[in-house]
C-alpha cells in the first residue's frame, strides 16, 4: 500500500515535471493571456429591488454570477438588450455571464427598469 502510494507519487511528480518542462519549452517572453487563467467568479446579489454592488470592476475573463435574493422576480439585461439577457429569475435563481472584452457594461432589470447597475471590465 505505502509502496504503491510512493510509486504513484513519484510518477505524479515526474508527470508534473514533464508538463512544466514542456510548458517552459514552449513559453515565450509575453505573460500568459488572461483567458488562460482559471475563470474567476464574482457575485452580484439582487435584493430589495437593487443590484449589489451597483458597480463591479472585474478583469477580462471574469464570470459574473447574479443571484436573486429578493422575494420578487427580476431579470439581468444589458442596456443594449443583446449583450446579455437572463430569463426571469425567481427567488434564489442565478444567471452567469463571462466578460471577455474590456469595457463598461450597463445593465438593468427589464421588469423593474429603475433597477440599474454596471460591470466595468478592465
Amino acid at each position: 500500500m505505502n509502496r504503491n502510494r510512493r510509486q504513484w507519487c513519484a510518477l505524479s511528480l515526474a508527470s508534473i515535471s514533464l508538463v512544466l518542462s514542456a510548458t517552459q519549452a514552449q513559453s515565450d517572453p509575453r505573460p500568459p493571456a488572461p483567458a488562460a487563467a482559471p475563470a474567476e467568479i464574482k457575485e452580484v446579489k439582487i435584493d430589495n429591488f437593487s443590484f449589489s454592488p451597483a458597480t463591479l470592476t472585474v478583469a477580462p475573463g471574469t464570470t459574473v454570477k447574479w443571484t436573486n435574493r429578493d422575494d420578487i422576480p427580476h431579470t439581468v439585461v444589458s442596456n443594449d438588450k443583446t449583450t446579455f439577457k437572463s430569463k426571469v429569475l425567481d427567488t434564489d435563481d442565478s444567471f452567469s455571464f463571462t466578460f471577455t472584452t474590456a469595457g463598461t457594461y450597463d445593465y438593468f432589470c427589464s421588469i423593474h427598469p429603475k433597477m440599474t447597475a454596471k460591470v466595468i471590465v478592465q
Partner: protein, 322 residues
C-alpha cells in the same frame, strides 16, 4: 399649476388646498376589486374587500363593471402564500354584487412569472365569474421572457400592435393600452409612438360627449417615478383625449388604491388580489408588504374611502358597499 416633470400632472389646480402630496395621504388600502358604475357619463368606483357584506348601496347607473388587478398567480411568499384563494374570494365578491357587472377588467400582472400554468389557473378561476367577458391588459410580469408572445396568443385576439385595442359598451368607449413593453433602463412605463398614433386615430371619430375609459397596467400618471410608478409618455396619451367631457383612467401595478381628479379626467388604481405594496416612499423598495397571515385579508378589506367629482377636485365620501 406647476409642472415638475413632463408628465407629472397638476398640483392643486383648483386651488382648494389639495395638492398631490395631500392627495397621496388620502389613499388607503382597498379591497380585492373595484366596482365601477357609469352614471350620467361619469364613472364612480367602489372598492370592495373580502369581509364586506355587500348591499344595494351602490347606485345602478347606466353601466357597471368590475376591475381586478395584479393576481400574480404563482406568487407564494409572505404575506400571501395562497393567491389562488384570494383571487377566488375576489370573484366570489363580484358574483355577490347586487347588480351584475357587465364584464370584468383585469389590469395586468395576471401571472407572476408568465408561466403557462399560471395563466391557466387564472383562466380557470375566472370561469366562475358571473360576468363572462373579461378584458385584459398585460403587466410586466406577463410579458417577461418572450416579449409578450404568450400573452398575445392567449388574450390578444383582435388587438393591435403589442396588444392594444378598444371596444364600446353602452355608449362608453373603452381603450386598453399597453405600457409594459420595451421598457428602457432607468425608465418608466412606455406607450410608444406607434400606440399613440393608433390612439389618435381610434378616438378621432368620437364625439366629445362620449365617455372614455382608458385602462393600462402601470399608472398613466406620476404616482411615484422613483419606484417606476408612472408612464413616460402618458401626457401625450392624455392630450389626445383632452377634448372629451369624461375620461376615466384605470390602472393597477401599485397594489393599492388611489384616486384623483384632474379636470375632466379621473384616475383610479386598483388593489391587488395577491399582496399589498407599501405606500410611495414609505419603504426602501416597493417589495411586498409582509403582514401577519391573520391580518392579510383584513388589510385587504379595510377601504371604505371613495372619491367622487364635486365642487372640489377631490370630494371624499364614505360610500361603502356594505
Amino acid at each position: 399649476m406647476t409642472r415638475k416633470t413632463k408628465d407629472e400632472l397638476t398640483v392643486d389646480h383648483n386651488h382648494d388646498g389639495i395638492d398631490r402630496r395631500g392627495f397621496l395621504k388620502c389613499m388607503a388600502w382597498a379591497g380585492t376589486g373595484t366596482l365601477c358604475v357609469m352614471q350620467g357619463g361619469i364613472l364612480k368606483s367602489y372598492a370592495f374587500g373580502h369581509t364586506d357584506t355587500l348591499s344595494a348601496d351602490a347606485p345602478a347607473g347606466e353601466l357597471s363593471f368590475a376591475q381586478i388587478s395584479d393576481s400574480h398567480m404563482g406568487f407564494n411568499k409572505p404575506a400571501n402564500t395562497d393567491v389562488v384563494s384570494t383571487l377566488k374570494a375576489a370573484i366570489d365578491k363580484i358574483n355577490a354584487l347586487p347588480q351584475r357587472p357587465e364584464f370584468l377588467l383585469h389590469t395586468g400582472d395576471i401571472s407572476h412569472l408568465a408561466k403557462p400554468e399560471e395563466f391557466d389557473s387564472v383562466d380557470q378561476i375566472l370561469k366562475s365569474a358571473v360576468a363572462k367577458d373579461v378584458f385584459f391588459v398585460p403587466g410586466e410580469h406577463d410579458v417577461t421572457g418572450d416579449d409578450g408572445k404568450q400573452y398575445l396568443d392567449r388574450y390578444g385576439k383582435g388587438s393591435q400592435g403589442a396588444g392594444w385595442y378598444s371596444f364600446d359598451k353602452k355608449g362608453v368607449h373603452f381603450i386598453g393600452l399597453i405600457n409594459v413593453m420595451n421598457l428602457k433602463a432607468g425608465g418608466l412605463g412606455t406607450l410608444g409612438p406607434e400606440q399613440l398614433a393608433w390612439l389618435e386615430k381610434d378616438v378621432q371619430p368620437l364625439g366629445a360627449s362620449t365617455p372614455i375609459v382608458l385602462f393600462a397596467h402601470i399608472p398613466l400618471w406620476s404616482v411615484y417615478p422613483e419606484w417606476g410608478w408612472g408612464t413616460e409618455d402618458s401626457a401625450q396619451a392624455l392630450a389626445l383625449v383632452k377634448r372629451f367631457g369624461s375620461v376615466t383612467v384605470l390602472n393597477g401595478h401599485i397594489h393599492q388604491t388611489m384616486q384623483k381628479v384632474e379636470g375632466s379626467v379621473t384616475f383610479h388604481t386598483a388593489a391587488s388580489t395577491a399582496f399589498p405594496q407599501p405606500e410611495p416612499g414609505k419603504a426602501d423598495s416597493p417589495g411586498p408588504m409582509k403582514v401577519p397571515a391573520e391580518q392579510l385579508r383584513q388589510l385587504l378589506g379595510i377601504t371604505d374611502v371613495n372619491f367622487v367629482r364635486g365642487q372640489h377636485a377631490l370630494a371624499i365620501v364614505d360610500s361603502k358597499l356594505g
